[in-house]
Symmetry: C2
Subunit: 332 residues, 2 copies
Amino acid sequence: MLDLDLEGLLTEVKALNPAPKTMVVQFPDGLKINLREVVERLEEATHAEVISVLDPCFGACDLADDKAKKYAADLLIHFGHSKLYHAAVKTLYWPLHYRVSEEAIWKIAGKLKALKVKTVSLNAASQYVKDLDRLSKALEREGIHAEQGKTKSALERGQVLGCDLSNPRTVEGAVDAHLFYGDGLFHALGLLFASKKPCYQFNPLLMEWVDLNQYHDKFLRRRYALIGKAQEAKTFGILMSSKVGQFRKKIAVEAKKLIEKHGKKAFLFSLDNVNPNALMGLGIDCWVNTACPRIATDDAGLYKEPMITHEELKVALGEKKFEEYVFDEIRH
Amino acid sequence: MLDLDLEGLLTEVKALNPAPKTMVVQFPDGLKINLREVVERLEEATHAEVISVLDPCFGACDLADDKAKKYAADLLIHFGHSKLYHAAVKTLYWPLHYRVSEEAIWKIAGKLKALKVKTVSLNAASQYVKDLDRLSKALEREGIHAEQGKTKSALERGQVLGCDLSNPRTVEGAVDAHLFYGDGLFHALGLLFASKKPCYQFNPLLMEWVDLNQYHDKFLRRRYALIGKAQEAKTFGILMSSKVGQFRKKIAVEAKKLIEKHGKKAFLFSLDNVNPNALMGLGIDCWVNTACPRIATDDAGLYKEPMITHEELKVALGEKKFEEYVFDEIRH
């Protein structure tokens, strides 16, 4: 069940001193159906001017802080993702929380018991992270010890992003296996490649248990095929994003130098919403992605030319062995 | 014939002191086929780092100055449009010039003579504006006096934008007719509605003479139909752009107040690349555009709900008579 906790939000906004006069609110696409109600309630409660940003939003890495500045907003409310950055504009991150059924929790406990896992690390995307303590207690009652990793970063305890797997690494030595609690495969695959321990996923939307270990070799074979094609490329296009949490100019410039060192051509491109149409007609044989890792990991199939990560580029150019495969991460 | 004058550009860039170390270059979609050559020549000539912005670009109003700042560029080169803004980053506008055949010029002279036009104002989009002096001289030889309007704005003499018709207005009293020299209908329609004199277009790409006056009533009928639908709307979505040259927050906020004064609901939306998909599922009955006027003027047919300008909103709400129809402009 989706819990937007609108009352909680209104209480928090009304408590702000000074009261905001102009608010910019940012909704990910999946939440737009709630936009009207949220804005009406915000306007009623505060009498502030509310501007809703409809530009695509792919995560807290995609914060509309530049737009909030342009509109001279004194508050930015970012819906659907938890805090990742301290922005120049006062920002209220308002994550979503799905409350998952007891049944899901017992299903997980049963699976882990059957797999004889004694200690497990619990990991979740932001919208499920609030359920981890409930899950943890239930598992302890079943004799399974649960850990939730935490680094000094802005991530919550147990939270993973598809591009930031730093939390589970802090407990890697202490667990028999990792569990990712959430939907989609991007975060789950990241976890799988961040660890040498068995990895499982429970998808609370589909109520589905997934043995992630089956994807290990399949994923690597697909990446190897792309790297093979990249080896034949003469002209590389390096993709950069100017979004606050995807800005990796340093890595992009390094990639360009590496390509040129190998006698090949490289161009630096900045593009915020990467899509096949925008990349057409540029005469590029291979794309090296330094923007959101998902572009290369999930979406490579959309592109005619190979779409690889900057880590995979090192393999393609023979600077690194394939055996040292590294999933592309952006540490926050 | 398209003339990018690459040698001229390289000379200008090489003469810059201090020499730029990081350049951001911005190409409109139609020029991307030239991107590779331009970037290679720039890199060879300057040894600077060149980052090409691939985000959609719809004019000089859509300057990538924010991105140039993010990449700490010391030069932004904006291709395809002439200077409109003094940006915070050093900016070189590099407009395109099409050189038009003598035949086109004689065709125009013949048409104007046949129409018994004694004095004409010459107006062109930026890529044709360099040809106006040549055209002017040819017309004078044929006994037709030609004027090119000029205000104090950044626009060149005789230049019109689809959203800025201030130049022809300065010569309105002195001419029998206006000529728009360029392709497309957006600029031409603007000229038609900015003047009470007969208006003609010569399209140098199609070598086609167009009597614009035929569009006057047809265009108004279409707008009247949209305004009629807007009158039935209960909930309005006001579209704003955060792009440097399309930023009209004041107008958007005024529109919201006006709608609310009439007991209807209004929401402020910010969206840089307006498209039907991004506007779906928001429960809006009518869109009021304050971003690029072209969205309402050229693209209204793409949207299920009526898409009107902020000037048309005044008519829909009964604040203004339809007879006082005003084309939406952004004065630069």
